[in-house]
């Protein structure tokens, strides 16, 4: 009797311990899950070149765009769009220039990540050229200008009438060296 009760208890103990371990794993699984959800909903976009949408050229709805940038804490870089506001039409090819200065005294490598507001607009901004497609290297004190070329997909839902595109700029550690 005693030993059978003992083994029944141990079986339940093991099951519960497995639940606890699975939940610990679940916490870590939330990281990729969150990423997938954010990408599916367009919250965090991966920066790769898009193909121009088929209807490109056919002018469509009027969209107001705002351009901006954010620089990681402690990174002595200045990043600014030469145009902060633009009225564009869907289907039009647009070019906006960004000027980036490395105001530090060392060679540095940075990576830009585009963020969109509203987040859902991200998948409709088709970027053909962007400095965010690869890491960019800067000499001390160097200033560079980059064109961003994109088309707003005419398939974008009509309820989106303004889009903000803000680049978040980060240092890629270990790439610079003093």
């Amino acid at each position: 009797m005693e030993s059978s009760q003992h083994s029944v208890n141990l079986v339940l103990l093991k099951k519960l311990a497995i639940i606890a371990l699975v939940m610990f794993g679940f916490a870590w699984a939330l990281v990729p899950m969150y990423r997938v959800i954010c990408e599916a909903t367009g919250l965090n976009q991966i920066a790769v070149a898009d193909a121009a949408p088929m209807q490109a050229g056919a002018a469509g709805a009027q969209i107001e765009m705002t351009f901006d940038s954010m620089v990681q804490a402690g990174l002595p870089w200045r990043v600014r769009p030469l145009t902060s506001h633009l009225k564009v039409k869907t289907g039009e090819f647009i070019r906006v220039d960004y000027e980036i200065t490395n105001a530090s005294d060392r060679r540095m490598v940075g990576q830009a990540v585009p963020r969109y507001l509203p987040a859902a607009a991200g998948e409709y901004v088709k970027k053909l050229d962007c400095f965010c497609f690869k890491q960019q290297s800067f000499e001390p004190g160097q200033t560079k200008r980059f064109p961003v070329v994109f088309v707003v997909d005419p398939k974008m839902p009509r309820d989106i009438s303004t889009i903000t595109l803000a680049y978040s700029i980060f240092e890629v550690p270990g790439q610079g060296g003093l």
Binding site: N9, F24, A27, W28, Q72
Partner: protein, 542 residues
């Protein structure tokens, strides 16, 4: 027949071991329960001292006693110690003491693991308290430890993370023990749909703990690796996202709120029927309400994050889900009041605390409904309104129910009666000063005072003064409780087997104080709803 798996009590099964080793190597559920309860009371006092430091600084605008960094350490550690050191261990302690008595088991299922789960707690508590002394001081990012602020801190944060790991392991082991005991060791006749509400509540709570404490462990481990091992879970610069931390934390954090509330519901569901001399109204719906609160608690976490800028659809989903929790919670309150209705009530201290619980918990619940409305939450999030809300739920909820429980079961635990007069003074004192302390905080939050600030604008002065005065008197009043306990344990009147006329659960069928090895042989029971004993055969004690 139910037996305990790994106890060592064979060598001295007819007496208790004595001296320090009785406690260090304790495997008896009553000894371990006692240890948990005293530990949590010590933590309650140390967390309380931090609260008083906070209120002292906030008595007047300007910095009088503490610099802001120390103030932030107090708010952080006050929260962590009260949640993980005081409330959760206190409920585990009660479960240890009472579950075997209430369901007719000889002890908890894994007695040696029970010992480990308790003895993990004091080192964790020491780690937390010692972190005040290390360079940079204790963690100061709030009990929520939001990244990336928590990645900025000194080694006090690492100590806090390790302490959370240890306390997490302790509570998971404790919960496994509770679940196995309830599912496998009930005496014949004690069926699941008849067993006491307290057993139901601790069972569901234990499942919640097993499900979410590992998630918290994962979240703080990610903070740790972000701090020291170059990962970027919560750092946008490495492709991470600070908001991810909040999602993971609150996936733990909201069920945690119910981990601290459900056992209270269980306790109240025994105290109210006993002193109304009536069976609990709607036992079955209580069981379902408790379970559905447990399940819903996994679906509402992002209501803590309305100000982070979620899409409108997400805000609406979490708003509706949160409002929905009010339904089962309301059912419980209505059931308790229906239990009192047409009863034959007397008002001993446990009953007073239970009624105080219902009133103040309802106020906290209703301010929770206000906060659940996302649009209004934008105005109240991170303000003193939230501080008022969760203290109504946790102090008046968890703490008052714990006082009700201690007074209610004190005779069975110690064999003595507590001093009824002092108990009543303790209740009225706590009730009044609790409200003086926390009710004005609603006004402060509405008027625009943010939480977690060491200093405030002049228009908030009056209510802060009132709250600080209230807090000091409330704190002082807890010494009445301590005095009552210490004196009554030594010199209290001997208690009869069943000091409460209306008590009908199994623990009142055995001698007072409860024998050291109660139900060494399982009794055969005839049970009605909520664990009421109709007949008992056998069930020997040693």
């Amino acid at each position: 027949m139910a037996t305990v798996t790994d106890t060592q009590h064979a060598p001295h099964s007819h007496g208790k071991p004595s001296g320090l080793s009785r406690w260090l190597t304790a495997t008896n559920h009553k000894d371990i329960g006692t240890l948990y309860l005293w530990f949590s009371f010590a933590m309650f006092l140390s967390g309380g001292v931090m609260a008083l430091c906070i209120r002292a600084e906030l008595f007047h605008p300007g910095l009088q006693f503490f610099q802001p960094e120390l103030f932030n350490q107090f708010t952080t550690l006050h929260g962590l110690i009260m949640v993980f050191g005081a409330i959760m261990p206190a409920f585990t302690g009660l479960a240890n003491w009472l579950l075997p008595l209430m369901i007719g088991a000889p002890d908890m299922a894994f007695a040696r693991m029970n010992n480990w789960s308790f003895w993990l707690l004091p080192p964790a508590a020491l780690l937390l308290l010692a972190s005040f002394a290390v360079p940079g001081g204790a963690a100061a990012a709030g009990w929520t430890l939001y990244a990336p602020l928590s990645t900025q801190m000194g080694m006090g944060m690492d100590m806090t993370i390790f302490a959370i790991h240890i306390m997490g392991i302790s509570s998971i082991m404790g919960s496994i023990n509770i679940i196995v005991t309830i599912l496998n060791l009930r005496a014949p006749g004690m069926t699941l749909m008849k067993m006491p509400m307290f057993a139901w509540a601790t069972l569901i709570t234990a499942y919640l703990i097993i499900a979410v404490m590992p998630v918290l462990a994962g979240a703080v481990t990610m903070v740790l690796t972000d701090r020291h091992f170059g990962t970027h879970f919560f750092n946008a610069a490495g492709g991470g996202d600070p908001i991810l931390y909040q999602h993971v934390f609150w996936f733990f954090g909201h069920p945690e709120v119910y981990i601290m509330a459900l056992p209270a519901f269980g306790i109240i569901s025994h105290v109210i029927p006993t002193f109304a001399r009536k069976p609990l109204f709607g036992y079955t719906s209580m069981v379902y309400a408790t379970s559905s609160i447990g399940i819903l608690s996994f679906m509402v976490w992002a209501h803590h994050m309305f100000a982070t800028g979620m899409p409108a659809t997400a805000q609406l989903f979490f708003m509706y889900a949160t409002m929905l929790i009010a339904v089962p919670t309301g059912v419980k309150v209505f059931n308790w009041i229906a239990t009192m209705w047409e009863g034959s009530m007397t008002f001993e201290t446990p009953m007073l605390f239970a009624i105080g619980f219902i009133m103040l918990f309802t106020i906290g619940g209703l301010s929770g409904v206000t906060l659940s409305v996302a649009a209004v939450d934008i105005a109240l999030h991170a303000s003193y309104y939230v501080v008022a809300h969760f203290h109504y739920v946790l102090v008046a909820g968890a703490l008052f129910s714990l006082f009700a429980a201690i007074y209610y079961w004190f005779p069975k635990m110690t064999g003595k009666m507590y001093n009824e007069r002092l108990g009543k003074v303790h209740f009225w004192w706590s009730l009044i000063w609790f409200n003086v302390t926390f009710f004005p905080m609603h006004f402060l939050g509405l008027a625009g005072m943010p939480r977690r600030i060491p200093d405030y604008a002049l228009q908030f002065t009056t209510f802060n003064e009132i709250a600080s005065v209230g807090a000091f008197f409330f704190g002082l009043g807890q010494l009445i409780f301590l005095y009552n306990m210490l004196v009554s344990i030594r010199r209290g009147e001997p208690a009869p087997q069943k000091p409460w006329e209306g008590a009908d659960t199994l623990e009142w069928q055995i001698p007072t104080p409860a024998p050291y090895h109660s139900f060494a042989e399982a009794p055969e029971l005839e049970v009605a709803e909520n664990g009421a004993i109709r007949a008992m055969k056998g069930g020997k004690h040693h």
